[in-house]
């Protein structure tokens, strides 16, 4: 059954189209879009107010934001989290409980950040909602009691994410790409939180919660005139000030592409992110081209990453890329979560797509579709009353030309395939990318190591560390002999095993839609015949007999010689463990997890055999194989679902992974029957 190489990837079933042909309808004339402008006014303290009246629904929303520059919190990382957590817990006018009770009573929602506030609810309560929000934002009271409570909760929250692979990936990615001391790279920990005091929170609020660069956006069933009156009354006394603007040196990309690996032993999926630093501004001449390049590469369910990794390979639930334009440094990333065994293959495919979009011009169809998506979302966003306000706000904060959104559709439509290739080369890196992978080392490292990309190891906080040791220590007294003897015992005992002169098995699987049948015949006098048929046609056959061994497939016959022949012969028996137990070449190398259970690994030559620590059954075999000159890979075969056949336990489920997964269900087993010498000619 094993050591069979199959050439199946090309086996595809074609299906016939039948039934009614109903042509795809053509779209009607494009709907007209008018980008409106909000009413705006400013207060003397610098607060700018944008109001969009919309009376369709009896609701209102208020959003206060501060366009302050990002800053690093350093050893006191967490001070802004604490400020955010304490905001809204009481004001100089109202105790916390009364405040919360009234918000809930109104059926409203009011919340605060360290540099923001939000309020929304029914418009019949619009005045009161804004009053409460302004009170919470401008007159907060910070108490030690509340401080201690919120701190304890943030710490518990950190703990609840301690084992989450995606949380670890987010943290480590930031540290590695931007650096620990950069606002975008630093992370919150119990240690830094312990450095924060109540007076730090007060100082943080005083410094950053200021009107200098503040915007209040009001959307909904209200009158501009009333809003103006009320805002002047509530926010007029907000003390003028501007937050500090500290600049940080921009992070640099790595000098050569590399894998940055974090071991999370409980992970059942690997989080993969291929990242480089991006300085894309919304005013960049390639801004729209970059958006479209990203859309074509990984913007959604029709993006190339998704079609490749999910639709073509079935390795993941989703794969996307992302880039944002903005005035501060950010990153470009291509990310996915894949099952452990395909981690290295997924990395290769992501790079293939990155290279392709940087080298080849995108097709006219891809370009047309990407434009349609952007134009369509632009049109549909008009349904949301907040859109007009959001556009006006972005125009101001990002320093865009006043007609940026009027010309949006025109500029999207003007992008060419050459523009996209240029933008991809400017913003998507292949030579200087970090491949951040968070996953289970024991399962994914062997594959990654075969891919010839340098690997550096980090702990869960982004600190460099040693390569993880996947193997556990073997208890004293356990040797290859004890493990192998135990295996023989668990499948029925030495006597029964030695009584097996031949085994015939037939198993079924489907590969890319085609039913595949594998038959295997093996005898105790070192003869073996394995044949793979697809819909009745022989695809591959391998025979070992007294004369030698050969392989046949696709009309070609190949003799097996030398060392490989010797190995094939040695393994062409029902239970090679019977002889292996006394062989000097076999040795126990450790304990490894196979599908979540501990198994002893026994190595002999290029092959490693795994025996479950508890049941004694053989659960897997792996073999290092050269798939191209200088390129080695490890091929795994898993055994499971052991069932009794004439007093011998035989695995009835066999999974092989050779780029494609072959999941074989054994449908027939015959012991000491169904095999004739003619089978091995």
């Amino acid at each position: 059954m094993k050591k069979v190489i199959y050439i199946l990837a090309g086996v595809l079933l074609s299906f016939n189209m039948h039934g009614q042909v109903i042509p795809q309808p053509k779209p009607g004339p494009a709907p007209k879009v008018n980008v409106g402008k909000p009413e705006t006014f400013s207060l003397k303290n610098g607060l700018k107010v944008l109001v969009v009246e919309n009376h369709k629904l009896p609701t209102v929303s208020y959003t206060l934001t501060m366009d302050n520059a990002p800053y690093a919190e350093g050893a006191k990382k967490g001070v802004s989290d604490m400020t955010a957590a304490l905001m809204g817990s009481g004001t100089k006018k109202m105790p916390k409980d009364a405040f919360n009770e009234e918000v809930d009573f109104l059926g409203a929602s009011i919340g605060f950040g360290s540099q923001s506030a939000h309020g929304s609810g029914l418009s019949k309560y619009s005045n009161r909602i804004l009053e409460l929000m302004a009170d919470g934002a401008l007159n907060p009271v910070f108490t030690q009691e509340e401080f201690d409570k919120q701190k304890a909760q943030i710490i518990e929250g950190l703990k609840s994410d301690e084992k989450s692979a995606s949380a670890i990936a987010g943290r480590v990615g930031g540290v590695l790409v931007f650096g620990k001391n950069h606002p975008a790279g630093e992370y919150l920990s119990e240690e830094t939180l312990n450095n924060v005091t109540l007076s730090d929170v007060q100082a943080n609020y005083n410094t950053y919660f200021v009107p200098g660069n503040a915007y209040l956006v009001v959307v909904g069933d209200v009158k501009v005139k009333d809003v103006k009156k009320q805002v002047e009354k509530l926010f007029g006394s907000w003390k003028p000030a501007i937050a500090p603007n500290v600049s940080y040196s921009d992070p640099k990309d790595v000098q050569y592409t590399q894998i940055n690996f974090v071991d999370v032993p409980n992970a059942v999926q690997s989080e993969i992110s291929v990242v480089n630093v991006s300085n894309l501004k919304m005013t960049d001449k390639d801004y729209f081209a970059t958006l479209l390049a990203n859309q074509i590469l990984g913007g959604g369910g029709e993006g190339r990453l998704f079609l490749n990794l999910r639709e073509a390979h079935g390795w993941t639930y989703g794969a996307y890329s992302s880039i944002r334009g903005g005035k501060y440094v950010s990153d470009f990333s291509s990310s996915t979560s894949v099952r452990n065994t395909v981690t290295d293959s997924a990395v290769v495919e992501i790079f293939n797509e990155l290279k392709k979009i940087r080298t080849d011009l995108v097709s006219e169809e891809d370009l047309k579709n990407a434009k349609a998506k952007y134009v369509g979302s632009f049109v549909m966003n008009m349904e949301k009353p907040g859109t007009v306000a959001r556009y006006a706000l972005t125009t101001q904060t990002q320093g865009l030309p006043a007609d940026f959104y009027e010309n949006y559709i025109k500029n999207i439509n003007a992008v060419t395939a050459e523009d996209i290739r240029r933008a991809a080369n400017r913003f998507f890196s292949v030579e200087n990318a970090r491949v951040v992978i968070v996953g289970k080392a024991a399962d994914v490292l062997p594959g990654l190591e075969s891919r010839k990309m340098p690997i550096f190891y980090f702990d869960k906080y982004g600190n460099p560390t040693e390569k993880p040791v996947a193997k556990k220590a073997v208890p004293a007294g356990v040797t290859a002999k004890t493990v192998l003897d135990n295996y023989i015992k668990s499948i029925g005992g030495e006597k029964a095993a030695k009584g097996v002169k031949s085994i015939y098995t037939k198993s079924n699987a489907t590969v890319q839609g085609a039913p595949v049948v594998l038959t295997s015949k093996v005898t105790s006098d070192n003869k073996q015949a394995v044949e793979l048929t697809v819909m009745g046609n022989s695809m591959m056959k391998q025979v070992v007999n007294e004369k030698g061994a050969y392989r046949m497939g696709q009309g070609q016959k190949e003799e097996v010689k030398g060392e490989e022949l010797a190995e094939l012969k040695a393994s062409a028996v029902p239970f090679e463990e019977l002889t292996m137990a006394n062989s000097k070449d076999a040795a126990v190398t450790g304990i490894e997890a196979i599908n979540g259970s501990d198994a002893y690994s026994v190595k002999k030559g290029d092959t490693t055999y795994y025996y479950d620590v508890k049941s004694g059954y053989k659960v897997a075999e792996s073999r290092d194989q050269e798939i191209a000159p200088g390129q080695k890979t490890t091929i795994f075969t898993y055994y499971g679902d052991y069932k009794d056949v004439k007093g011998i336990k035989v695995p009835h489920n066999i999974i092989m992974n050779v780029g494609i997964e072959l999941n074989l269900t054994v449908s027939e087993v015959k012991i000491n029957e169904g095999v004739t010498p003619a089978d091995f000619q």
Binding site: S160, G314, Y317, N369, M382, G513
Partner: protein, 436 residues
């Protein structure tokens, strides 16, 4: 109190009415149209009355699997082209599955209504269900399970509660189903499932947004009348024996660092008034910072990082679930003792007039937000027709909530939320097999 009555002057009814028209095609497809010309957007959706509860116990996961499979292509939409067509025409689309129903929808700029109708008709008339599609989506669904459930802290919570709370009803298995069952299923089984459930007389089509109704009806007729009527679906009724004795269970999740304690009670169908009363109870207990359990257990006593109570209500039965994550130094029992005290209080004392008024405001606010965009309205229209049997509930459901009294709240708490009627589940971290 003075403030409360002042606010009441704002008036009771102000929320908008949702206008719609509905009719049937000859093949049994129910059609609902809702026009809203305020933005150039249309939503087209089909809800099929099939969910995980309609599955063979040996083949669980089929309904969710079809949510994936029915994007694979049709006689006139090549495999892999579905998403491309949607995007190329500036739209977006998705689907979701529950234990009761499956929902597919597209949102487009309004000039693509005909395309949207054609696509949903294609999916209903002649989807291509072949081995390639089954094999691909089988892998994708496995990854979805790993991503959403197996690799997420508390990801198996609902599945575990359901498994314990239902003995005979198909709600006992997870919506995503068993991967072994999906592996074992043959192509013929998938094709038979499609033929049985994905038929016009087991579905509702909703069109909402900026369109001309006469034109829309013409296109609906043109594309959907071709779909043949299917054999009417007959549904088996599963009755659970009432729970009369408290029972316990434990679940180990390797992704979890902080243990969670959960209690669950069986409650009636979402169609009943009692289910709505239970929604209000959730709001009293854990809706907002001034809610009873949150204020006492999280805010004042600082015993829990999180506390929540909600009515997970479905077509045949519901589950009332209370969960808490104890802070360090407190046990699951400490947290549950406090939570239980709040339930007992509801069972013995009427809530205050002011709390009652607060509920009324919340109901109105929720109602407005649930109908605040055409996507939401489309899904509500479909659900009310298909699962509740009355589309007009989109406008009248709020009246049912408003008819609930303080006494109703006390009685419903007494009827369903008793210690002898519940499961207590300790949802804990697994002991590490490998070292970190």
């Amino acid at each position: 109190m003075a403030l409360g009555s002042l606010l009441m002057l704002g008036g009771v009814a102000s929320a908008q009415k949702v206008a719609f028209e509905e009719y049937n095609l000859d093949n049994g497809l129910h059609v609902i149209l809702h026009q809203d010309k305020s933005a150039p957007v249309i939503v087209t959706s089909v809800m099929y009355h099939v969910g995980s509860k309609d599955e063979n116990p040996e083949r669980t996961g089929f309904a969710h699997f079809f949510e994936h499979l029915l994007f694979e292509g049709t006689e006139n939409i090549k495999r892999g082209d579905w998403f491309k067509i949607v995007t190329a025409n500036g739209g977006n689309n998705n689907a979701n599955t529950s234990d009761d129903r499956t929902y597919y929808y597209e949102v487009f700029p309004s000039n693509n209504l005909e395309l949207a109708i054609w696509m949903e008709a294609e999916r209903m008339l002649h989807p291509v269900i072949n081995q390639i599609g089954v094999d691909t989506q089988n892998e994708v669904v496995k990854e979805e399970k790993r991503l959403r459930i197996d690799n997420q802290p508390y990801g198996n919570l609902i599945a575990e509660v359901k498994r314990n709370m239902f003995k005979v009803h198909p709600y006992r298995w997870a919506t995503i189903g068993s991967m072994d069952h999906l592996d074992a299923a043959t192509l013929e089984e998938f094709q038979a499932f499609n033929k049985k459930f994905y038929i016009p007389n087991n579905a509702v089509l909703v069109i909402a947004g900026d369109f001309d109704p006469a034109q829309a009806k013409k296109w609906v007729d043109q594309y959907f009348s071709k779909v043949p009527k299917g054999t009417p679906v007959t549904r088996q009724k599963f009755e659970e024996q009432p729970i009369t004795q408290a029972f316990k269970a434990t679940y180990e999740d390797p992704n979890v660092q902080l243990p969670m304690v959960v209690t669950a009670y069986r409650t009636p169908s979402m169609k009943t008034k009692d289910a709505k009363v239970l929604d209000m109870i959730s709001s009293i207990l854990t809706g907002g910072k001034s809610s009873r359990m949150y204020k006492k257990i999280v805010d004042e006593k600082k015993m829990a990082l999180q506390i929540g109570a909600f009515n997970y209500s479905q077509e045949d039965y519901g589950l009332y679930i209370v969960y808490g994550i104890p802070m360090q130094g407190f046990t699951a029992a400490d947290v549950m003792k406090e939570a239980d005290a709040e339930i007992v209080k509801l069972q013995t004392e009427l809530i205050s007039e002011r709390e009652f008024q607060k509920l009324q405001n919340e109901i109105e606010s929720n109602y407005v937000s649930s109908n605040s965009n055409v996507e939401g309205i489309a899904e509500n229209l479909a659900s009310f027709y298909l699962l509740y049997g009355d589309v007009n509930l989109i406008n009248t459901e709020i009246e049912i909530y408003r008819s609930i009294t303080r006494e109703d709240i006390r009685e419903v708490a007494k009827k369903y939320l008793n210690p002898n009627q519940r499961l207590t589940l300790d949802y804990v971290g697994a002991k590490d097999k490998a070292q970190n």
